[in-house]
């Protein structure tokens, strides 16, 4: 099999594109990222690996704005992310310039996915080693959307999804616990999913909330800690209720 992962353009005899699969491995090693779509709120969360003491954490932004109404979080190679995000930002403005309309979430997702696919079918280049979670509101209907792309260039819409490290556990949790939420409930659901795989605490999680009126807002550590405390309290209450059986049987 070693012969079939040299140049990306080569299929292996059993139909694999090994470079793309290796790129997906790189994604699996990246930090955990989760996205949840509510009725009026969309939440993105990423795991923050412990920052070095001397590092200025403000320069390490993992959830970014592509336009006023679109945001992106990713898992995988951060340098590749920078390049992809730059291209997407240019495309957002270019679209506004040519058709005088802001992009829809689906359009920019399709663009990013198209870019990722191009690099799986060109000579001498390797695929982008990242999967993205793209969220936003439709500029005219106000409908919220969440999309995911991966290194192969496929994309699809989701109600909630996770990518990166331990994404399977997070996705399982979301499948079990997802329901239509709004506002703070959506934020809590996203944090609860992240807490399944990440050490709890505001220091290890970065959360950004997008609403139609206020765009993207990064929550600060204190806010996250407060919500985490709420979640822990709810969990403890649920445990206590389970342990104490009902008096009348």
């Amino acid at each position: 099999m070693a012969r079939y992962d040299r140049a990306i353009t080569v299929f292996s005899p059993d139909g694999h594109l090994f470079q793309v699969e290796y790129a997906l491995e790189a994604v699996r090693k990246g930090n955990a990222a989760v996205g949840v779509r509510g009725t009026d709120t969309i939440v993105l969360g990423v795991e923050k690996k412990s920052t070095a003491k001397l590092q200025d954490s403000r320069t390490v932004r993992k959830i970014v704005n592509l336009d006023d109404h679109i945001a992106l979080a990713c898992a995988g190679l951060k340098a590749d992310a920078r390049v992809l995000i730059n291209r997407a930002r240019i495309e957002c403005q270019s679209h506004r310039l040519t058709v005088e309309d802001p992009v829809t979430v689906e359009y920019i997702t399709r663009y990013i996915a198209g870019l990722q696919q191009k690099y799986t079918q060109s000579g001498g280049v390797r695929p982008f080693g990242l999967s993205t979670l793209i969220v936003g509101f439709d500029p005219y209907t106000g409908v919220p959307s969440l999309y995911q792309t991966d290194p192969s260039g496929t994309f699809s819409a989701w109600k909630a999804n996770a990518t990166g490290r331990n994404s399977n556990s997070m996705r399982e949790f979301l499948e079990k616990n997802y329901k239509e939420t709004s506002g703070q409930e959506t934020v809590k659901l996203a944090i609860r999913a992240l807490l399944e795989v990440v050490e709890s605490g505001g220091k290890n999680i970065e959360i950004a909330v997008m609403t139609r009126e206020h765009g993207l807002r990064q929550l600060d550590e204190a806010e996250i800690d407060a919500i985490v405390a709420e979640i822990e309290a709810e969990k403890a209450a649920a445990e206590a209720a389970k342990k104490a059986p009902p008096k009348d049987t």
Binding site: N86, R89, C92, R96, L97
Partner: protein, 205 residues
């Protein structure tokens, strides 16, 4: 016959432009907005070739927005002015844009500023300036009555004096003007000065 002029006051800058869209001897519309709100705290008043004006100013606006997304902070007025001048200069010896620009902005630590950028990419930082045939009259009025640190009322009064001069002395004076202001609270439309309202709706038969 396009008139654009502007001035800097105490903590604000005003840009005034006529609002006629003209082609040869025909006035297409008299409520054309030629002062673009570049971002939250910048105004770009442009006069010149119709297509070039819209094309160039929109291009500058989208690039200013892109800078903000890329870097997380907006461009300063000086930086935006220099970028605009650079784009005009690059196009100059290939495909020049026939657009004259007054760029006004407010920066938190610098205050209000006004930049004069003409179609051959000269750049000047100024307190008051004007383009077009109207400039013969508005510059003269401003030279006479302008002083630094004017209040909004004084400045708008001066603007009205300039508009009066243009209306009475310029042979094909534009009928309507728009006044926009930029200060610490942002860039916004201040007022219209209309002497001909665009009639809309079918005449009753």
């Amino acid at each position: 016959m396009e008139c654009v002029f502007g001035l800097v006051g105490d903590g604000f800058a005003l840009v005034v432009a006529d609002s006629s869209a003209v082609h040869s001897i025909l006035v297409h519309k008299s409520n054309e907005d030629k002062i673009m709100v570049l971002d939250s705290h910048k105004l770009l008043g442009a006069s010149g070739e119709g297509g070039d004006r819209a094309q160039f100013t929109e291009y500058i606006q989208k690039n200013v927005a892109l800078y903000q997304f890329r870097n997380g902070i907006p461009l300063t007025t000086a930086a935006a002015a220099n970028f605009t001048r650079g784009e005009l200069a690059t196009a100059l010896r290939k495909n020049p844009y026939a657009v004259n620009i007054l760029l006004a902005g407010y920066d938190k630590d610098i205050g209000p500023s006004l930049y004069y950028i003409d179609y051959i990419a000269s750049l000047h930082k100024i307190e008051k300036g004007a383009f077009g045939y109207g400039s013969y009259f508005s510059l003269a009025m401003m030279d006479r009555h302008y002083h630094s640190g004017m209040t909004v009322e004084e400045a708008v009064d001066l603007v009205d004096k300039c508009i009066m001069e243009i209306r009475s002395r310029l042979v094909v004076a534009p009928p309507n003007f728009v006044i926009k202001i930029v200060d610490k609270d942002g860039a916004r439309e201040y007022a219209w000065r209309e002497s001909i309202k665009d009639t809309t709706g079918a005449p009753t038969s």
